[in-house]
Symmetry: C3
Subunit: 185 residues, 3 copies
């Protein structure tokens, strides 16, 4: 049986959308200033991310332990939360809506490989978390997935397909199981 | 469809059971003295945790890479083990019994949110791991769960309900599958 | 019900295959030189691993965030890749073939405990990833498992049994679901 050959693997031209110099600069700024900033300095981290081309909304709460591969491919809406140790693997674009929550340890993965290609070609597909959705803790979201407005993805789920708006979705692979109903207060 | 509004989210009064000053002091002590201590200094880490109000039994083995949110909500019995990169997310109380084992990368999560509330209310529920139970590697335990005496939770399982004493339990969601029988030696 | 007693737990003689001095030396070298090396210094990390007895093939790509318990129990083939935050828990031998890929956050675990033993005896079983196989992101591989030549293990899967050559395998527990066919280019 023939197997993949990695010696001829190549990253496609402009895959990162920025020069290697900017990529290295972000890694340095992240290591020294972003990841080591005290938890309460949310404004400082929004400023750093915007400086590298991220679109970050008003009062968005992003913890210092969040890992962001390329900030220029990230968009976070007003009042959204990104919890501790979340991994935003932005080979492709990640868009997180207003009032959306991505809880700690969740992993949004926009990159993968074509396992049928001889040189293990890399590709990226965007991820969208719509307004008011909640990705609970330690959830995996696969490349190309959209999570609908106000949906809830239960803790430890793995999501490989789009999930509909306003539904509670759980499991691996995640499936919608019931409606989310907001109480009147 | 109406969605959650995070701009009015509030942590309930006394949710942390200590002042923000003590919380920050623990974060500092953890970063400098606990998480960077050499692996063999088990006595030193027991001392640090007890200084912050944790109940830690005789000879309990706790690795430096263990993450403990609020030590004053943690109780660990004699001879218990807590492995590398275990996450003890103690928004609520976590009680780990005598001779119990929590293996590396497991994640005990006592906090969550009410997804039906308009302001995404936070809550906490305690977790109890009874004497002699074994939480194998990379297991998730949800808020409010009790693992019975001597039970085994298999590697990579996710536990959302109480598990009975003396049973081997596996899967996501975890289910009891057979009795645990100790050999005579 | 009788429970395990950890006070008499003992690591078997020569379980680590090296003296505690060498183990500590590796931990130090890892903390200072390996884990903090810039991403592009692949040759330097191959040199460090070989100095501690690992067999590392030509052009093998190993990221600085990879965790390797005992390098002298690791073998990596030519052109193989080990991604970010991969955990190679080498209590037993881990062998990764030529042109094989272990993607980020995956966890190869060669050690466990006999839950039927009164003193919670530890054991190790080797893991083998054959040539050209791809372990996708955040996969768990249990002690004793062999992944066949050219097989693909899907993202977030958990593997508890040997997987056959040339098959796409997914789920928890992982099962083979279809053939992998390489396109002609």
């Amino acid at each position: 049986m023939k197997i993949q050959s990695l010696s001829k693997f190549k990253i496609p031209l402009n895959f990162r959308s920025r020069s290697l110099f900017i990529v290295q600069l972000w890694r340095f700024v992240n290591a020294i200033f972003f990841s080591k900033s005290p938890q309460l300095m949310y404004g400082w981290r929004r400023f750093l991310l915007r400086s590298f081309g991220a679109k970050i909304g008003k009062s968005a709460i992003i913890r210092p332990s969040v890992r962001i591969t390329y900030p220029w491919k990230l968009s976070v809406g007003d009042y959204a939360w990104i919890g501790d140790y979340v991994d935003l693997y932005t080979l492709g674009d990640i868009t997180i809506g207003r009032n959306a929550v991505v809880s700690q340890k969740s992993y949004l993965c926009t990159g993968s490989h074509d396992y049928a290609s001889e040189n293990f070609d890399i590709y990226q597909k965007p991820i969208v978390i719509e307004d008011g959705a909640w990705i609970a803790t330690d959830v995996y979201i696969a490349p190309g997935v959209t999570i609908g407005r106000g949906a809830v993805i239960g803790a430890r789920s793995s999501v490989f397909k789009n999930m509909p708006s306003g539904m509670i979705c759980i499991g691996s692979p995640a499936l919608p199981v019931k409606k989310r109903v907001l109480k009147h207060s």
